[in-house]
Amino acid sequence: MNKTLLSALLIGTCLGLLAQERPIAFTNAYIIPVEGTDLTKGTLLIKGGKIIALGSNVLIPAEADVKDMKGQILMPGIVDSHSHIGSGEGADGSAPIQPEIRISDSINVENTSIRRAQAGGLTTVNVMPGSGHLLSGQTVYLKLRSGHTIDELAFEKTAGGYLGGMKMANGTNSRRSAGNFPGTRAKSASLVREQFIKAQAYQAKIKAAAGDASKMPARDLGMEALVEVLEGKRTVHHHTHRHDDIVTVLRLQKEFGFKVVLHHVSEAWAVADQIKAGGNNVIGASIIVVDSPGGKLETKEVRFSNGASLEQAGVLTGFHTDDPITDSRWFLRAGALAVRYGMSRQEALKAMTLNNAKLLGLDQRVGSLVVGKDADLVVLSGDPFSVYSKVQETWIEGRRVFNRLDPSDRKFATGGIGAAIDTVNHDALLEDESEDL
């Protein structure tokens, strides 16, 4: 083979990896764009990894690969605002506050938990460091592309690493009787307050240096991350269950002004109005739906109707799997159960997609089927909220990452040998007393 041809082939392959060039037209589908009304016989046209047209009368280019989706449903790729797939390890037991920790340093993108999430239709996921700390480190927003490195799966690379938030927790989660961990709620809040005051001082020093490198404070990775939090560049994802703990988060938010998303919120039904009154930087709440109350004292008053309560209060509401606490493969069930207990169907679908994208600040790119957004979509055999429906295909940026008709993909949906290997750290998370829920 001559060199030119080889180079051409190589370049071609690289381009192929970078972007989907040939347009694909999904025709004849029932389309739920989430933003805008449903189309009963719609066409979705994608090219270069983006949505380029959507409607009932879309002109399909001659070179397009046309896929007849008769009888199937198309919806946006599902967004999970809180998960632990990829068997990452976050902060260790040495301190209750570790802002310098980056979960992106430990995620195994080959872990089968990621394949199972693809099988559930998940395309964008906030992977968080695990648990048992007031502040357990930096989260990372992933696109569940097929890839072998974190670079390939990161939603976006930034100067300092990868786009993500900051994981915090209160209540009993971060209490420990040993070491320098807090033993009470007031102590927990006090330690957090102290840390943010320290970060404010660090921020002031940077400001005072006014760009003069000789006047800059010594680099401190934890402080740098907390300054990003104070400046609203890194959203706090805050684990919190009880009504009083939720209110404590709101209080600390008010004191320091950071952007926050409240996670789990077992007693959201009791303080939905207070959450709503939290102001612009209280971005919203993300609910976990578990099959029964109890098991952990803080969740004994959890209600399935949290979704309905938050919707009624006008809070931007999303859902999360907290995988492995609930399984990514049937994440849609979370929205369905919220509908069972009074949330509107429309809002529940939004919660699984666009609202979650907003909670992560990624709604310009994902969360709905709108021209210009990433071509991330799920093909379903039926109603997204039916136990009988199957995720048939999952697409990310114009590439299919899951196809139920392919037996090697299918096993990640149904289970079976090899569908759940490499879950060592998942086990640790589930057995850890201070685990993440």
Binding site: P293, L297, P324, D327, S386, K390, T414, G416, A420, L430
Partner: protein
Amino acid sequence: MRVLLLTLFCLTLTAQDIAVRAEKLYTVSGAMITDGVIIIQKGKITAVGKASDIQVPEGMKVLRHKVAVPGLIDGHSTVGFSGLLNQPHDQDQVERSAPMQPELRAIDAYNPKDPLVRFLSNRGITTVHTGHGPGALISGQTLIAKTFGNTIDETVMVPEAMIAATLGDSIRNTEGKAPGTRSKAMAMLRSELLATQDFMKKRRVAKSGQEPDRSLRMEALIQVLRRERPLLITAQKSIDIMGALRLAKEFNIQLVLDGASDAHLLIQEIKTSGVSVIIHPLMTYPRGEMENMNLETPSLLQKAGIPFIFQSGYEAYVPKTRVVLWEAGMAAGNGLSFDQTLYAVTLGAARLLGIQGRVGSLEVGKDGDLALFTGDPFEWTTRCTGTIINGRLVSDGEALKD
């Protein structure tokens, strides 16, 4: 007078006259009845049929619902033993002082008032097989109870149902005590059953007045050896399932396989052995011993003709209980037909548990236990709108505010 009042009170508690008219009435023993009526008198079903064919007695209260099915049966749970709060004071499912304690009776520990029992009855579950859970080589006994009643006596159907045993990683002792390995666990079970056989023999041949001392432990296991009570063995991995089958054959025991997440890899072996399976909750997270679990196992068991039922299982953390209705629903969503799924969570479960004479289907003479729904019971968005136990409306089902 006081006696009379008490009698009346008991009657109202246990027996009521009530009729239910449903757009779809699933009797399970027969075909689905469109616009059906069921009449319950003194706690028992006295008539079932098409509304046009059934005369509802004058003055009888008629409840109208979309869908009615027989009260649902949870094949294996620890509800009432592993309480909602998950604090030491409400966790009675496993006693860890010794690896084998078949003498532990379930009726001595069941709390019919634990909030999770109510949580289940609000979702149409009327009967639970519950008791000592997985986690000890022989953890103790199980019972079968209705999900309504203030005391064990009011609620229990079968006080001594099965003896619960476990094989696999969860019973491994890492502190130098037995059992520390799989082979040791099997050897211990074998020795215990041999000792029981020996005890039986001694009792049989002993002259009057020279019988061996009573042994609660032996007495419990004698029932297993006489096939009067099944041995429930929780085993997930292939090696442990095969161990359980081997043991059952060696001692001619009536085995019920519990969990069995590798069952889809051993269909032929299980079929040949003739045992029944109480399949693990399908929504368990796949990990550890259960890493091979497969949502399509129920449909594979069905195709092979292996009797199986569903369970909520034991949960150590969150959620503190699963809901057998929802676990069964996952099978309906993964290859098992609606009718097969409904059968497994009603009449199939009753048969496997040996209570088919009283519950499991809507037939004249059986207990008036019904679960009422807004639609297909297995759908995620369908709600339970009422639960009837012994003819008494014990719950209005799931509240929107739940």
